[in-house]
Subunit: 69 residues, 6 copies
């Protein structure tokens, strides 16, 4: 399925932290560049998210803030 989200960064899962309902998934998308996603435990289980697996971090443009020094 192709997505409207402008930001789709393929990478590798490097950490998964499971909470009571929410899991935090860290995906290395470039050398030293790690994206953290907060998703439901249900999703993490359904997708079989585990360290070492390929995964894509997906972000809508409207969810990106810009910072300037």
């Amino acid at each position: 399925m192709r997505l409207s989200a402008r930001n789709q960064m393929p990478g590798t899962v490097v950490a998964v932290t499971r909470g009571a309902t929410t899991s935090h998934v860290k995906i290395e998308v470039a050398a030293g560049m790690i994206i953290t996603a907060a998703i439901t435990n249900e999703a993490a289980e359904e997708l079989g998210i585990a360290v070492g697996r390929k995964a894509t971090a997906i972000i809508k443009a409207s969810d990106v803030l810009v910072g300037m020094e």
Copy 2:
């Protein structure tokens, strides 16, 4: 100001598209990895966002979806 957002990717502005109220800002955060942000024109002007300037793409973990093949 330090931020709670887990995803803060420094880079360089490579494109700015201005609409009637919304601007799309493209930031290259790694070789060939471009993040698109949709922000208000007001913000784009206030921050002086322009091609070639340093900028950071900032994303909350709860706004990141995960995709798996």
Copy 3:
């Protein structure tokens, strides 16, 4: 690509309104139930979104509010 988003509703595009940078896409996901998405014009063009085509409305659980009478 399988997605972590808990809400994925397949339907048919029934309207597309294009703005300066943002397009509004209406997708009928059930009889009389229409979901409105605001996406970038870039995405609308890239995906070839047009009235009559099949499309899926995708929403993260953390982006859903609940209302009660």
Copy 4:
């Protein structure tokens, strides 16, 4: 209170999963179409969200992604 959110789907609560701070609420908005919302436990308690009660799933257009095959 009338809301600016373009997506307001009335339905019935079919499941509530309570975590340490976050609750997942599943609302059936059409036959076989279930929306999952992630809200705070505080909100779930305050609103008295329980299985069988009427509830509306509310989603801003800017939080809807579109997928196309």
Copy 5:
């Protein structure tokens, strides 16, 4: 309709900027404290949003970042 959103700030509309598809609405919620909302033109028209009218700014807890010096 009672809402799960933890942040509901009543105030007065002090400015409305209409774009091609998106309107920016500024609501004064306390002396000198103005909240800017980006909503669809469709919503702005449907709700009759205009300067001087009472309005409530509504924000999910999961959409709030925290900054610290």
Copy 6:
């Protein structure tokens, strides 16, 4: 770092509730006006968020809904 987010409300932390992965932080931004943020525990620890400390609630305009009576 200056931010594109239109809503930046400085205040004082009045409560912190820690969950398994998510913390809820309440910030008083005006007399009797408290903003609740849901952030990762990782962020809460990293920033040293604690009751009594100065903090800014940061919200993108596109994450603000408007309600009208």
